[in-house]
Amino acid sequence: MRAAVLRTVMACFTLVWFLNPANAIDIKEVVSPGGIRAWLVENHNIPLIAMNFSFEGGTTSDPVGKEGAVNFITGMMDEGAADLDSAAFQARRDELAVRIMFDAGGDQFEGAIQTLSKNRGEAFALLRKAMTAPHFEKEAMERVRQQFLLGAKDDEQDPEKIASRAWMKIALGDQLYARQGAGSPQSIANITPEDLRALHRLIFSRKGLKVAVVGDIDAPTLGLALDEVFGDLPDTAPPTPVKDVIVAKGPLVKVVDRDIPQSIIVFGHDGILRDDPDFIPAFVMSNILGGGGFASRLTTEVREKRGLTYGIGFGLVPLDHAGLYIGSVSTRNEKASETLAIVVDTLKKMADEGPSQAELDDMKTYLTGSYALRFDSNGKIAGQLLGIQQQNLGIDYVNNRNSKVEALTLDDVRAQAKRLVHADRLITIVVGRPEGIKSTGSGG
């Protein structure tokens, strides 16, 4: 591959961003007989259905000392439910060729099911069992625990994970978001079946439920399916959201010594939430500075001109209750100091001068033109529609977003550069044996 894009910290979060498709997408709101709401895009061209859904409450709901418990549930949802033991459940799933996936985010617990439309009835019946009556049986749990332990031990050695953990620890201290959603080998060892049952009761509630469905299914059929899958879940209040988070301010550099040929650098500071009134101009500015693709200022300066890295990115990470602005880059140890200096200079220049009119114009046509790439498969559309619901952007968002981007002026975007980019506030973690970089500041 020619390019790496943003990874590391940013890979943990999905940023919803898209603009109106040239041919408007017809999104219907479906309300089931039992009162469950879902967004539906019907498409009968191929015999598949994709459904994405989420509950409020993610890994921030982990009890202290049991980090990784919510994530553990994702591994137990196919290990037996209702009348089916683990083997029978998995056999049935494979027989139907249905795909059922779960993912624990910081603020949300997400699920997705994809099925051939001919197996629709059996697929939703199977999902219902997993949702309402998972076994969390002891022997299966020990098996799955070993798998999560394997991953957690890997994470402890992975330089990118080491860097992002260290960054979150310094930026967020003891606040809930700073914990690792996947847990540590120690915390994973502490998790019991009772912990999983309690968290399942807490999170799997109709109150926090959001659903998006795309494909070969009509509204009345979907209504019945919604009641079948989710109708018997309790209507209790979702977990209390975490408090809005205060992000520590740099400047601060911390070196984590590892004997590797390449230094991994994670840098960043506070950002903004998704409901910030200026999120759109901020997002456009941040794309010009450090977005994916080959034209960002950071990519131009660090990669294209100087060959210092395979990939660099710097982007806004709007969690529900914390706004972060994080970047990452990796370079050979002897060039770490030079690379970091160029990053700092590039940020300063953006804060001082903002983007040019030409940069803004190009970014607008890129963002407005690439809208449709996010809507070319059932699975992708379902993911986008769920994200819009989670961020309360409204059902007309897909079809009115373009005009908001089009309307941005150079002053709008320059104001965000001045407001949000702060080279003097960076918290910087370097994992490796960087030449010419020493730990500084209180966190060193």
């Binding site: 020619r2 060729a97 390449q262 890295t309 395979y310 033109g369 790439l373 070319d376």
Partner: protein, 448 residues
């Protein structure tokens, strides 16, 4: 239009000949331009988006000795500009038209792609056709890119012990065939690549007759043909591609073991690869049989390896098997296991060996075969939901000498696989003399 009608007729005849029809029921159109460039069109009109790809039949296995990494380095350099579109213009034109693009290199092919609004397909062809013949390289843009590639190697290989082990296994597997060297190249050789090397490689391998155009998504075959003739059809061949004859790998005669300790490895890993055939090298059903055998042995929680090692014996946290049969010259059949804490790797290896021995002696059951085959065929339908995947499947097939339609109807041949087919394929491939066993473990600390 005349050609198109003939084509439709051919498709109809083909369908008659191979009935029953494939589960995917996909309309693939393929034809050749006068200059020999192959074209494959796969329609999906659900969104106004196309995936445009140009594949060259050249990969790292086509490099001369001592120049490892050259095919991949050239892939990077293809973005450095032409006389007409100097550096930056290509990327900018894709960006401002709302497209996304990238490229990748394997042992057998190099591919470039864009995903973009379907009304911009012509522009993509214009840009891609331009850089097929008019690349301009200067030391000014070549040298920093060589540093980028070295960073890529550090990031993706040298910072990752399991990637290093995979590289060592390949190096041990092939004594003569070029699949033994990594696509990204050995660092010592990459460091010495030059602008002249890249230009010579470009001139020796990039020409319409050595290229394949794949368009998937919102485009009609006749429209793709018209655009392809306009932009690619006018290019003249600068050489005639020769058959791709790589040094054959001699029949393997010795079991090999690669033992690597690395303090960055968090837990021990056992894996083994057996040299095998591919879909391109076999006329019989061996490749299909090996795909199904890999599923029976090690795909998912109902597989033999998982059931035995993870569920019943509780000696491993993970266990899996795979078959990689999509290369031009050689494939591999592999097994993998990660032991539970406190379990010696030897014990896990012995347990894997016992399961393999049982399959060689007793074969698999009809029930197992039916289970994995039904699932595999049903799952093919999911690929219909992603035009980029469809384009990749077609490209990888054609670039390794397969028929574009055949790669989308493997279920038809898969249905013919018998228990005897699996037994025969297993007996040919699962032989210790054909294997490399790889062990990765953290360095032992002085205390233990």
């Amino acid at each position: 239009m005349r050609c198109l009608k003939i084509l439709v007729l051919q498709i109809a005849l083909l369908c008659l000949a191979v009935a029953p029809a494939s589960a995917m029921n996909i309309e693939v159109t393929n034809f050749k331009l006068a200059n020999g460039m192959e074209v494959v069109v796969i329609p999906d009109h659900r969104a106004p988006v196309v995936t445009h790809m140009v594949w060259y039949r050249v990969g790292s296995a086509d490099e001369v000795s001592g120049k490892s990494g050259l095919a991949h380095f050239l892939e990077h350099l293809m973005f450095k500009g032409t006389t007409k579109n100097p550096f930056g213009v290509f990327d900018r034109l894709i960006d401002i038209n709302g497209g996304e693009g990238n490229a990748f290199t394997t042992r057998d092919y190099t591919a470039y792609f864009q995903r973009i609004a379907s009304d911009r397909l012509g522009l993509m062809m214009e840009l891609e056709a331009d850089r097929m013949q008019n690349l301009v390289l200067t030391d000014e843009n070549v040298l920093p890119e060589l540093d980028v590639v070295r960073e890529e190697r550090r990031e993706r290989t040298e910072n990752d012990p399991s990637a290093l082990l995979a590289e060592q296994i390949d190096a041990a597997m092939y004594t003569a065939h070029p699949y033994g060297k990594p696509v990204i190249g050995w660092m010592s050789e990459v460091a010495k690549l030059t602008r002249e090397d890249a230009l010579a490689f470009y001139k020796a391998h990039y020409t319409p007759a050595n290229a394949i155009l794949i368009v998937a998504g919102d485009a009609q075959p006749e429209q793709v043909r018209a655009l392809a003739e306009k932009y690619y059809g006018v290019l003249k061949n600068t050489f005639t591609p020769m058959p791709r004859l790589r040094t054959p790998e001699p029949a393997p005669i010795a079991a090999r073991r690669v033992i690597m300790t690395d303090p960055r490895a968090s837990t021990p890993i056992f894996q083994r690869s057996y040299l095998g055939p591919t879909y391109s090298t076999t006329e019989n059903r061996d490749a299909y049989a090996l795909d199904l055998l890999a599923d029976i042995l090690g795909s998912g929680t109902q597989s033999r390896l998982y059931k035995s090692l993870v569920i019943d014996q509780k000696i491993a946290a993970q266990a899996a098997a795979w078959y990689a049969g999509d290369a031009l010259d050689n494939g591999s059949f592999g097994v993998y296991a990660a032991p539970n804490p406190g379990v010696e790797l030897d014990k896990v290896e012995a347990a894997v060996d016992a399961i393999l021995a049982d399959i060689l002696k007793n074969g698999v059951t009809q029930k197992e075969l039916d289970r994995v085959r039904d699932k595999s065929i049903a799952e093919q339908v999911y690929t219909l939901d992603d035009q980029a995947t469809l384009a990749r499947i077609a490209g990888a097939g054609v670039a390794t000498g397969l028929d574009a339609r055949a790669v989308f109807s493997r279920d038809v041949e898969m249905l013919k696989v018998s228990l005897d087919d699996i037994r025969e394929a297993a007996a040919k491939v699962i032989r210790i003399n054909r294997s490399v066993t790889g062990i990765l473990s953290p360095e032992r600390s002085p205390q233990n």
